[in-house]
């Protein structure tokens, strides 16, 4: 898989950065000339992953969220969202739809379900006490091919 283009951003885990992060990734993805629906899917998936870093990973503290986005040679976008927060003890369970550890804050427990269904590929690697890495891939601009 050839990397055609790459960008990296890192920012503080402040909730006002949720909008910034999804907009930045979508601006980068615009190189692939995605359709409206594809860009909405990507925007939503990135928003979910970044929100999880803020709400869960760095709960009660402040840390750095790092996003790497790559454009791969087959019209695919690759996104990695990394935190050095609390980590997830049971990733499989966390990824089940409606599972949330913060129900009283009106979390729907659907963040991973959104990422999974709106992107082509999703992987989650996590170590308790060290942090979490979420990677996602999606082919874009398919309509224009």
């Amino acid at each position: 898989m050839k990397i055609v283009n790459e960008m990296k951003i890192s920012f503080k885990s402040k909730s006002e950065n949720e909008g910034f992060a999804r907009t930045a990734v979508c601006a980068f993805a615009a190189f692939l000339d995605p359709g409206i629906e594809e860009i909405a899917d990507l925007r939503t998936a990135v928003s979910e992953a970044v929100t999880n870093c803020i709400v869960h990973a760095y709960r009660g503290t402040e840390g750095i969220i790092e996003i790497t986005a790559r454009i791969l040679n087959d019209n695919e976008i690759y996104i990695r969202i990394k935190d050095k927060g609390c980590g997830i003890p049971d990733v499989k369970r966390a990824m089940e739809p409606l599972y949330t550890t913060a129900p009283c804050e009106e979390r729907a427990g659907l963040g991973f379900a959104v990422m999974e269904s709106f992107m082509d590929k999703l992987t989650v690697k996590s170590t308790v006490g060290k942090g979490t890495v979420v990677t996602m891939r999606k082919k874009l601009g398919a309509i224009n091919e």
Binding site: E18, D41, T44, E48, E105, E106, G111
Partner: protein
């Protein structure tokens, strides 16, 4: 992000606009719940016509209001959600609880 709240004979209409995410959901929730407590309406209409973005934090917001309306014996209507917001709602199954309408 903002919400304009209108009170019409036993109905509360909340005209949402902008982007609904975790950052914005809290103030929206406070504003809507304040109106619900004051008025105890029979119907809450959440109007999404002017909403450009929503993630699962918005689902939490809609679900929470659905439960509140059940508690006060009223109903919830989701009005005019744009296509990508409908997609998020469908994933959550909220479309089977609240009625979604387009006007």
């Amino acid at each position: 992000m903002s919400v304009k709240i209108m009170n019409e004979d036993n109905k509360i209409i909340a005209l949402l606009s902008g982007e609904i995410d975790h950052h914005n959901a809290k103030t929206l929730r406070q504003d809507i719940d304040f109106a619900l407590r004051e008025n105890q309406p029979e119907e809450l209409i959440l109007d999404f016509s002017e909403v450009g973005f929503m993630d699962s934090s918005g689902i939490g917001l809609v679900m929470g209001r659905y439960k509140l309306m059940q508690e006060i014996g009223g109903s919830l209507i989701v009005r005019n959600p744009p296509a990508h917001i409908k997609k998020v709602m469908r994933l959550s199954g909220i479309d089977r609880l609240a009625s979604i309408c387009n006007v």
